[in-house]
């Protein structure tokens, strides 16, 4: 019933959302007083993968894969973040616990929005570059 033909805006939004998560991850890593090994590896791997999927989104031949990779990474971040808030880890730095971490909430929002945006593409309500809606009437 509701459909939009804004492929460039959708792709730009997808890139911005993925990079939004990456920026939060990197800035968190840069500002936390204690960098645990697993956190450093998690952030680096996820950031590189997010950047790679963001690069794929505007590509002519890899956009489709980029969206699915972005969704997988967003889902991974979403679940990891929520679980990390729910599971108490004694001694973990403040940015790694509790819900009152604004950048974390913003990144969580980015991940949720990316998943929603990709779902809207799969449902046909949106379309991403390089495709266009096939509306002839």
């Amino acid at each position: 019933m509701v459909a939009f033909n804004l492929p460039r805006m959708v792709t730009a939004s997808g890139i911005a959302l993925l990079l939004g998560i990456a920026v939060v991850l990197v800035s968190t890593l840069a500002t936390v007083p204690e960098r645990t090994g697993y956190l450093v590896i998690y952030v680096i791997v996820l950031t590189v993968a997010l950047a790679a999927s963001a690069v794929m989104l505007p590509a002519q031949d890899r956009a489709h894969f980029g969206w699915f990779l972005g969704s997988a990474l967003s889902a991974l971040f979403f679940v990891t973040y929520v679980v990390s808030r729910l599971v108490s880890r004694t001694g973990a730095p403040p940015a790694q616990t509790g819900w009152d971490y604004a950048p974390g909430t913003a990144a969580l929002g980015c991940a949720a929005l990316f998943l929603t945006l990709h779902a809207s593409i799969l449902l046909g309500a949106n379309v991403a570059h390089p495709r266009r809606q096939d509306w002839n009437d």
Partner: protein, 497 residues
Amino acid sequence: MTELMEYPAWLRIEHWLNVLFLTLVMRSGIEILSSHPKLYWHDDSAPGTEWARFTNKTMPKDKLYDTLDEEESYSPLVALPGHKMLGLGRHWHFASVMGWIAVGAVYYILLFATGQWRRYIPTSWWVFQQAWEDILTYLSFNLPPLIPGESHDAIQKLTYAAVLFILAPFQILTGAAQSPAVEARFPWFVRLWGGRQSARSLHFLGLTLFALFIIVHLAMVFFWGWGHLSGKIIFGESRDPYWATTLSMVIIASIILVHGAATVWSYRKPRSVQQILGAVVRQVRLGALRPLTSRQDYSSRELSHEHRVNGKPPTSTAYMVMAAHNFVDWRLEVGGLVERPITIDLPTLIGLRAKQSQRVLHNCVQGWSSIGEWGGLPLRDLVDMVQPLPDARYLCLLTMQDSGRDEPSADGTGQFYEIIDLQLSDDPQTLLAYEMNGEPLPIKHGAPLRLRVETQVGFKMAKWIDRIEFVADYSHIGHGMGGWREDNIYFDKDVEI
């Protein structure tokens, strides 16, 4: 500063009136959108170029369809009244807009007269800095501090200011930019918004921003304490949270009841809605917009490649035979309250004077637009020729279209006709057109003769005309409402917007 902690009575009354009118405006606006549920950025509204659509319908590629076929039927839960009642939706929209603007004007005056403007307009740059801190606080799932001595936090203050002083005027201006009379008199104003369809799209985006604001506003009230804040907006101060909550629910239920009553009234007595709301809106239209005359002159490169169309051509054998012979047998009869009734054929009509051409924007009542070049005889020349009697006040344009036979998408039957005020013939760009884009008028656009009244919405511009009658009164014609669409689908007769 304590005056900003409490809410004066006028502000509380205005708040609830605003809720009523704004929601009526939004629902009726969605009804108008449903009649052409597609949004464009270009004034030609070319099929397939829409950036948003709110319909599942697809149109045939192998036969003529018109925009009535594209109309959607929305539920009354979101549209007022819903179910393809554009005419009534327009009455509700314009009457509610008038109420909303009146409420807003009083609000502005009292806001500045009483010093309450400080409630919304920041007087220090600190507010902007604090607003960012407030956003971070909300993202931390906490509530930020209120501005000392005030009833809002910084981000709330800025949001209210944006809605009151930017979004609300933006909606009024983008709405006005969709008025054919405003567009015809001030083409620069439409261009200011990027064109007619951009104005329509921006108007829709404004609607979504209002909807978003309402959702966030309700969430804020919930998180900050419904009872506490309801007390403020009902009693003026925070007291009796249980009683305030109950009363807030009663007021909201009353507003929903008004919406329900408006919907039921529209379905049960559509004619009385048309007459009562139409009478209110008509006065404002005639007072504010009727004096505007058309001064359009679009460039040839702005002409729409494919001018959209509404209404289907006559399918009678007589018309088709006439069309096959290039309308040599067609005659225009002009009569009624005139000194010199005439009957003329097409070559005579064309030869009456040098052709007048005009490149103008066409506004369909449903929302689409196109730009075309029309050539023909200024209506005032024909009026001068037949010399109306003093009693003549209206022109009834009778056409060869029978809606029941030719227009399956329309609700209603009978010969199509439209009535315009004689006064409109004075507009220099009111034309009896026999040419379009330098060619003889195409059949689908009204061949051999159609009306162009550039300050009016498209449905008034009768196509396939074969008779013009000067009358003193139209109450005895059809159902007496001033035209086929006015009679059958409750449209408004004077349609400067």
